[in-house]
Symmetry: C2
Subunit: 246 residues, 2 copies
Amino acid sequence: MEDNIAQNIYDNPDFFAGYSQLPRQVRGLDGAPEWPAIRAMLPALSGKRVVDLGCGFGWASRWMREQGADSVLGLDVSEKMIQRAKTDTTDPAIEYRIADLDTLDLPPAAFDVAYSALTFHYIHDFARLVRVIHQTLTPGGDFVFTIEHPIFMATSHPDWIVGDDGDKIWPVNGYSVEGERRTDWFAKGVLKHHRTLGTTLNTLIGAGFQIVQVKEFAPTPEQIAENPSLADEMERPMMLLVSAKR
Amino acid sequence: MEDNIAQNIYDNPDFFAGYSQLPRQVRGLDGAPEWPAIRAMLPALSGKRVVDLGCGFGWASRWMREQGADSVLGLDVSEKMIQRAKTDTTDPAIEYRIADLDTLDLPPAAFDVAYSALTFHYIHDFARLVRVIHQTLTPGGDFVFTIEHPIFMATSHPDWIVGDDGDKIWPVNGYSVEGERRTDWFAKGVLKHHRTLGTTLNTLIGAGFQIVQVKEFAPTPEQIAENPSLADEMERPMMLLVSAKR
């Protein structure tokens, strides 16, 4: 089933129960190994109006207010996530709202920074959303986001293979075939939308953004020393981090 | 062995003999399935001064003159390639010169267009070369190049795997480990330098270029109908095509 709205898997009880136990949901930003790399891509936040697209439990929204953001609007399709986010803050400068990013509208030039973490691979019409984000940013505004890396997402075989020499190998196929991908992750048939890296970047450029930085997340030697299982992340990138400027 | 100059495998007799028989060397640009996609990324060439970095037999250099380029400078590390390129034209506005792109210098603001096809993966110090290209372009000048895609180049197992379901799978590993790759291609131990897609783009941006378009070559349905073996190229991109502006 191909919908023109985002699949809201996050309100599926089994999914929500499993997802809530991820280190990054229990420990927050420090539980996400890519967080230091993202933080280095964010602009100074003091006095900025921020929109957090796919805010989940609101960890980043709260952090951005701590960094001096003037206001943060956190949006998420999941009612459960927004409920939990609301219970975790009393800060009146943070507003949380249920919103489907595939049908979202935002007012023109209303934000200085747009941020999104691991959300856009659920979006059906990425080009539409990028246009909405472009027009809601002020000129010179920053757009920083992470998304599942297309090398990770493309494949119909999303599991490691161990080669004859013991190497861990990530099997890629279907890279240039864009569209739906279904995987089992806390629930059966979680729906994602695969786009090539080229399409993601060209969509930004086509909407008027200038590409500032493109990072394919890899752990540092220190992170691997602390958490040896992260070494696998050197073999293929799981996440793409992009910063762009309006 | 890691050299600070590019390995000149092209003057190896066995390599040269094999390489010269590739369809794209026998038939020229029309033998390269990515050529229509590259052509669509090139600016209008009329009256432009062009540098062709890694010009090989000079197919693209000659084509660019036919499109009205004012002059073309073709550079290649291979003496044999430059000799052959020279015998294939009498056009005084095309100059061919032997040059190692790892030690190349070019005069400031001397060219309107820099072009390079499938050469930069042989370059040790890509950041240096990009700075040389940036300063030799006029402001607003265009830089269009192709390079082996890092998904293709990263792996220590550069051969298809056939999955249980018959799917052709490209095995990726070592993606985030940048540096030397050695493969057997018409000769043993051809030396290439792997960089992530992020590094390639950030190097351009860091030198002052603006990214205009990023294409990961995939054949069109018409190309696959004409040459069914091209269908494999949908599974993983072999080539990265980039256009940027000074």
